[in-house]
Symmetry: C2
Subunit: 335 residues, 2 copies
């Protein structure tokens, strides 16, 4: 059984060095001192995000360690993406039950972190490893953004077009449907074809870093929709003191998610189930052509789904939704 020190040495220290000169230049001291020492990028601000993932709350216990690690990092990078920040480094607090303290689990967990982190040449700079009866992962991820260029929730303007991202051929609610499928809580009248596509969206979401970086100077506001589109748009509206309307028919949905919503009689499922790591952002009318260009450049679907309206009522009208009572539901809460 590995001690804390040998565990860090074996599995996590290798994640602290990234094989390129570029991204490492700001790290003077990484893992192995009381703290990490980093040199800020000139003319940039630091963006700091923190997310905790706990077994059976944020992911099913049976999730493979590769996916647990990937997702724990991805949810943080998704928050950096929503601010328009370029990921720079991260720290890891891992609370590990004794039965997972073995090479098979730890090496797969480390590989999951590394596979996603390597996409952005993102070094692990430190953290804490401790035993616990419950598997829990807290990651604090840090990014740099050009001074005063961060995209905030509070920047939405009346008349802005509301967009949401999704993968080409994809849509909202895919991770949520993947979770229903794992819990085997699908209605009898519904069969999920290609469940693995939905499990992958749930387990290994792709943070929209490139989109967040590209939206600076285009979007007035942005948020990641991990709590569900509906709840997260409300955060934008609350911060900006505005209201909005959405067109239900324009929300990007796969045939499977649409069929499931109808079979389960939950029209709002795709926009309240959570576990979508897409960006919702608002754009002034004159910059909409730039969004169309970005779609091609980034090979993403960026769908115009509604409009920001005046009125600090923080309300959302959903056009084309037959079942108004569903609007009582308000997104997935982790508490």
């Amino acid at each position: 059984m590995a001690s804390e020190f040998s565990l860090i040495e074996t599995y996590f220290k290798p994640l602290s060095s990234i094989p390129t000169i570029l991204s490492n230049s700001d790290i003077q001291i990484g893992i192995g001192d009381d703290g990490a020492v980093l040199t800020p990028l000139p003319n940039h601000q630091l963006v700091v995000v923190t997310d905790t993932s706990i077994e059976d709350i944020h992911f099913p216990k049976q999730t493979p360690p590769f996916s647990i690690a990937w997702k724990s990092l991805a949810v943080n990078l998704s928050d950096l993406a929503a601010m328009g920040a370029n990921p720079a480094f991260y720290s890891l607090a891992l609370s590990l039950p004794e039965n997972l303290n073995n090479d098979a689990w730890l090496s797969e967990f480390a590989r999951g972190l590394k596979t996603l982190a390597d996409q952005y040449q993102l070094p692990l700079i430190g953290g804490d490893t401790t035993r616990s009866s419950v598997l829990s992962i807290t990651i604090t991820a840090n990014g740099w953004v050009e001074s005063n260029q961060a995209i905030l929730r509070s920047g939405a303007k009346e008349g802005d077009a509301i967009f949401v991202s999704s993968s080409v051929g994809g849509g909202l609610g895919m991770g949520g449907l993947g979770l229903q499928s794992i819990f085997k809580s699908l209605p009898a009248s519904f069969t999920l074809n290609q469940p693995e596509k939905y499990h992958q969206k749930l387990n290994e979401p792709q943070p929209r870093i490139e989109l967040g970086l590209a939206l600076k100077g285009i979007a007035n506001s942005a948020i990641d929709i991990s709590d569900g589109l509906l709840a997260d748009i409300k955060h934008i509206l609350q911060s900006s003191g505005l209201s909005a309307e959405l067109n239900y028919a324009d929300i990007p949905l796969t045939k499977e998610v649409l069929d499931y919503s109808q079979a389960a009689e939950q029209s709002l499922f795709p926009i309240i189930c959570g576990d979508d790591y897409e960006l919702c952002f608002t754009v002034p009318a004159e910059k909409m052509p730039q969004v169309v260009q970005l779609e091609k450049l980034l090979n993403l679907k960026l769908t115009h789904i509604g409009k920001v309206l005046s009125g600090a009522s923080n309300s959302i009208k959903i056009n084309g939704l037959d079942n108004e009572k569903n609007l009582q539901e308000e997104g997935f809460k982790h508490f």
Copy 2:
């Protein structure tokens, strides 16, 4: 029962603003967006530390919430102190069992954070709050240090004098003895007078921030001794490729800790029990007078306990210790 959002709003958002202009000037956006946005101090480096505290591993379950919060933050600040960094801001990941999700617990927890943070005008910039069956607190604390001035473990030089800090009238092992007293595992022949003094050392340790700041330009290396003096000096020696000798008789101990060590027949107890949030640091001979001056200036005991020796054997000889077999023990491990 508070939801995540109302809980943050009620208890944690008030901790994000500090009533001075000075320390807040670097924070553009705090709690309430996807992440915090901070402006780096010119000509400084960022120091990042992370520590997790879990009930019944890092603190007894019955510890008051004020103390749990204080200690969870203090252990992080102690790491910043060891690097010579000035604390700047922190984020909090709180995993909370349902039975603690009430005003009595949360308001005391928030007050514990605030009381310590206010000493350093340290704002809470963000984090994550989630439910869990196990109480767990992960704090990532950040500080600024003048570029290339951080005190590292790796800087010790042959011939350096080894010092350890303690409070005036105090010594090492006080927190450890406090823990033994709470667990009621004291030998029959030993009575602990003033147990509350020892419980306070355990529960509300005072990080040595001012000492860490003052040691820049004086100490060649430093570490905080939360894992026990013996284990942590070894970290310095390992990083610096050196060995050391300590004089047991010089280690600062209260009469109670010395009596307990003898009654329990554990001579090494005060230097392996952990839970001391003091600094161990090494100083070249010519700078020893400056350490004496610091003692008075900071109202701390800074005790010369040994010497750094050549030889990359990473070994520690303890002069004046009768029971050599005790040296097999190697400090408190959280794994």
